[in-house]
């Protein structure tokens, strides 16, 4: 199976007036393939969102490279963005458009073939059960409905790669489970999914492979079974703590 997303030596350095140089992402490598859910597991501030934003070309990498379906994020950002759908808790919808208008809009600007936009929109409305609300303005919809419209808009142009950046943050259990179900469906349709979370159970249930990220560095990247074998721990929580403590010891040694 060929890799659809390739990340190698990716770095992002910020300058902060208070903290000076901040290495948010410090040279990470990973690859993802079609039909796989790849999980980035890390605490807040570990570099998950920065990595995903570099993949989505909203942030420019300071070093290293990343590509989506062979398009380099620095050289061909528009082709990269066309090949992926990006969902996060902060990507909002236009409140004054209707659900149908929203889906048509995102299909068009992502250059989905114009002749098929209507049919695609209708199919998405049917799939996500938006029928009764399709022509109501988004700001009038319930949180659950908004979430469905938001997922539908992410895949409006049927992209082969999907990025979910902490998609269940702020959702209640039922909505979170609904979200996990949808993500699994997308995987089964053959899409590549990169998924970030700090919730262990979610990663355990959903991810085919898990990368443990801490202080901008990936400390382990394997299937859950392989991680269990390597660490001797049963639960992902213990596995995660194992790697973080290891990293902290190395970091402390480096500092001393």
């Amino acid at each position: 199976m060929t890799a659809t997303v390739v990340v190698s030596g990716l770095k992002k350095t910020f300058f902060d007036e208070g903290r000076g140089e901040v290495r948010a992402v410090d040279g990470i490598d990973f690859e993802c393939s079609q039909g796989e859910i790849f999980g980035l597991l890390g605490a807040n501030g570990a570099g998950k969102t920065t990595t995903l934003r570099m993949l989505a070309t909203i942030l420019a990498p300071t070093g290293g490279s990343a590509s989506v379906l062979g398009h380099d994020v620095a050289a061909a950002p528009e082709d990269v963005r066309r090949s992926l759908g990006f969902y996060s808790a902060t990507t909002a919808l236009y409140p004054r458009l209707t659900a149908r208008e929203t889906l048509e809009f995102f299909a068009r600007i992502n250059r989905y073939p114009a002749a098929r936009v209507k049919a695609r929109t209708a199919a998405l409305i049917a799939r996500f059960g938006l029928g009764d609300y399709a022509d109501a303005r988004v700001d009038k919809l319930s949180t659950g409905m908004k979430q469905k419209v938001s997922i539908a808009r992410t895949v409006a142009h049927d992209p082969p790669v999907l990025i979910f950046d902490e998609p269940t943050v702020g959702l209640d259990v039922l909505n979170a489970i609904e979200m996990q179900k949808v993500i699994r469906e997308f995987r089964d349709e053959g899409k590549t999914i990169i998924f970030s979370t700090h919730i262990m159970s979610e990663a355990e249930k959903l991810c085919d492979r898990i990368a443990i990220i801490h202080r901008g560095t990936i400390h382990a990247c394997a299937t859950l079974a392989a991680l269990r074998e390597a660490t001797g721990h049963r639960y992902l929580e213990d596995i995660f703590v194992h790697y973080v403590e290891q990293a902290e010891r190395a970091h402390g040694g480096e500092a001393a």
Partner: protein, 710 residues
């Protein structure tokens, strides 16, 4: 970067739909102004009518005091009654009533009477009424103001008919209070009445002496206006039209501009948009079009609104309004205004792009609104013409162009330049707005770049143009405010010593620049000096040739050049001083600024050839007088090239000084360098090329440049 028309159209349509669905926006920006405007006009008119009515109805009470009170009463009685209603639409009789009070001044202060008359025999001229003298003599004979505050007011009423009291002749002073409507109006009417009585009396006296004179014969003064009525209206309209347009565009455009970028940031939709396949440029173009069309829409609605009121006579229409703006000219005005509207939209977009929240954008709006209006005031400057440095100031230039078009003296080549400058500014600001979408502070907490965090020399290349823009602004402002007769030496000392030298040293200090690097303080190869000796005069002649050529495109009036020469060579300053001031000082100070810090700051931003052109053009723009820009820019390019090739500032200093000496000598001895044979200019160009060949062969390149070839 990609710019797909269908995508832009989709973005634009969606944005417009969103705006139109926002009831608050539509009400605040379109419906409310449409309702408030007539309300304001009605209230204003109603107020004015009531005030007039009240003034007409009032019976004006007054007191006559003084030794000659009876003479004054006789004069009032003798005045023809028509005079009272002079200049009024309806000849209503004006009612006066004399009353008697003990202390007229106190009664006036207590509003017991409207005014009082003091009638005295005029004293000998030297001792004329001290009260009248105290008022600067402007009001002598009339209107003895009751207190200090009213003096200013009453001065507006000063009238040349009024004379100083003459010894032995009755003189009447009307004392009133200008801070009271009715008092001022009554005094004015009484003044008119006495004046006409005096006229009658004078004619009667002349008749009695056997002279036959009609009042019209005494002094017939007529005015004849050579400009057509339409041109006069054009001038009035031209002064204000751009200002009003900008007011509508900025206030109308701001409503959507704040919402479109800052608002989207706040709602989180911008991040969604930026993760789609649209390019930053497509986003900016669509948003710019949105602001532009909404601003245009609101402007059209407001103007139509105004026209309706003019139609209903709620607002007095300017005379010959229709004659000033025939359809063809209206279309031309629209074309001229397009870059102005586009620039205003770009600025609004930039402001919105720099704000993180809707509220922050709103906060920025007011100063931007005021500053944005400022350039539109240019046509009100007395005697301003497009053929001046104003052509380089965006918005101001088109505002002046519009005035000239309306007056009927369009200067087409200059209008084309003005249009291009403002349109260019609109594109540039639009590009800056596009960059705000790429800056990471949009989505991250950090909003300082590495260079900014570190400061020092690394930051300087990103700041150098701002510094020079600030220096230019000061230079321009000082040049505008410097009187014609200001000492050229003081002006020069300020420009060279304070702005160029002081500014350069400040930049070196502020960014901790290495002096040798920043000012290129290195020794060139000896042969370079020879090349400079040959090249400087050849370059000056070539520049003159270029000036002659440029003159074919944009002719410069000869008297303008002569006046400039005159300013440089005032008879009051000895020639040796002129030589030192205008060649050695610029040779040092201007070189340090332009071929020193400017070149150093820009060295890695452009390809060396482009760098020389850019640095030269900037040098040209600093010579505020328009006709000097092209030749000085040429000189600037030459000097920058010399520094870049030799890696040293010293040959450029000598070249610059020599160049100026040559120009001064030509002016002093009256050499007609502008009327030489074309062949001589070509020969000079060949010599110049030779000089550069020598320099090229002896080059010691400037460090830190971009490679010549990739």
């Amino acid at each position: 970067m990609r710019l797909d028309r269908a995508t832009v159209a989709t973005l634009f349509a969606s944005e417009l739909r969103t705006v139109l669905r926002d009831r608050r926006t539509v009400i605040m920006s379109i419906v409310l102004p449409l309702l408030i405007m007539p309300l304001m006009l009605y209230t204003g008119r109603w107020n004015e009518q009531r005030r007039q009515h009240k003034l007409e109805e009032t019976v004006y009470t007054y007191v006559v005091v003084g030794a000659e009170a009876d003479a004054a009463r006789a004069a009032i009685a003798a005045a023809p009654p028509m005079a009272a209603a002079k200049g009024k639409d309806k000849p209503a009789a004006f009612r006066f009533k004399e009353v008697t009070v003990g202390d007229p001044a106190a009664a006036l202060t207590a509003s017991g009477i409207h005014f009082y008359l003091e009638a005295e025999k005029g004293a000998p001229a030297a001792a004329t009424a001290p009260a009248a003298e105290a008022k600067g003599g402007a009001e002598a004979g009339r209107a003895g103001a009751a207190d200090k505050e009213s003096e200013q007011e009453s001065e507006q009423e000063s009238d040349e008919r009024l004379e100083k009291p003459i010894a032995g002749v009755t003189s009447v002073t009307i004392v009133f209070r200008a801070d009271r409507d009715s008092s001022g109006e009554g005094a004015r009417r009484m003044g008119e009445r006495l004046e006409s009585a005096r006229r009658e009396l004078r004619i009667a006296t002349l008749h009695r002496l056997g002279l036959s004179v009609q009042s019209d014969d005494i002094a017939a003064v007529a005015e004849s206006n050579a400009a057509s009525a339409a041109q006069v209206t054009g001038l009035q309209l031209g002064r204000y039209v751009t200002l009003f347009l900008l007011m509508f565009v900025l206030s109308g455009g701001a409503v959507v501009a704040t919402d479109t970028l800052a608002g989207e940031k706040e709602r989180g939709t911008l991040e969604t948009l930026l993760t789609t396949a649209v390019s930053r440029r497509e986003v900016i173009v669509a948003k710019h079009l949105l602001i532009l069309s909404v601003a245009l829409m609101i402007t059209v609605i407001q103007v139509a609104n105004l026209l309706v009121y003019i139609g209903f006579r709620l607002i007095p229409a300017p005379a010959n309004f229709a004659a000033v703006i025939p359809p063809g000219r209206a279309l031309l005005l629209l074309v001229l205004f397009l870059p102005v509207i586009a620039l205003a939209s770009s600025v609004l977009l930039l402001v919105s792009g720099n704000a993180k929240t809707y509220k922050e954008a709103q906060l920025y709006f007011f100063p931007v609104f005021l500053l944005g209006m400022l350039p539109a005031l240019a046509p009100m400057l007395p005697g301003i013409r497009l053929r001046s440095a104003i052509v380089l100031v965006p918005i101001s230039n088109l505002a002046v162009a519009v005035k000239e078009v309306l007056v009927g003296v369009p200067d087409w080549p200059m209008i084309a330049v003005a249009w291009a400058v403002t349109a260019g500014a609109a594109f540039w600001v639009g590009w800056l707005a596009e960059r705000t979408l790429s800056t990471e502070r949009l989505i991250t907490a950090s909003d300082v770049s590495a260079e900014e965090a570190r400061g020092g020399p690394a930051l300087f290349p990103r700041r150098v143009l701002r510094w020079f823009a600030a220096i230019w602004a000061i230079l321009f402002a000082v040049a505008l405010n410097m009187g014609e007769d200001a000492d050229i030496r003081a002006q020069l000392a300020f420009n060279l010593g304070v702005l160029f030298l002081g500014g350069s040293l400040l930049m070196i200090r502020r960014y901790r620049l290495d002096r040798v690097q920043a000012l290129a303080l290195r020794a060139p190869r000896p042969a370079v000096w020879l090349a400079v000796l040959v090249g400087a005069p050849a370059g000056a002649l070539t520049a003159t040739g270029i000036f002659v050529l440029a003159n074919l495109v944009i002719p410069v009036p000869r008297q303008m050049i002569e006046a400039f020469g005159q300013a440089l060579l005032p008879d009051s300053i000895p020639f040796w001083q002129v030589l030192a001031l205008f060649s050695i000082a610029p040779g040092i100070c201007e070189e340090i600024a332009f071929r020193g810090v400017l070149l150093h700051g820009l060295r890695s931003r452009f390809h060396p050839a482009v760098l020389a052109l850019v640095a030269g053009a900037i040098f040209g723009v600093f010579h505020v007088t328009l006709f000097r820009i092209v030749p000085t820019a040429f000189l600037g390019v030459l000097l920058a090239a010399v520094v870049l090739l030799t890696g040293s500032i010293f040959p450029a200093m000598l070249w610059h000084a020599l160049n100026n000496v040559l120009g001064l000598l030509a002016g002093h001895y009256g050499w007609a360098l502008h009327d030489l044979d074309a062949g001589l200019y070509l020969a000079a160009t060949a010599v110049l090329a030779l000089a550069f060949w020598i320099i090229y062969r002896n080059r010691t390149p400037y460090p830190g440049l971009r490679p010549w070839r990739r």
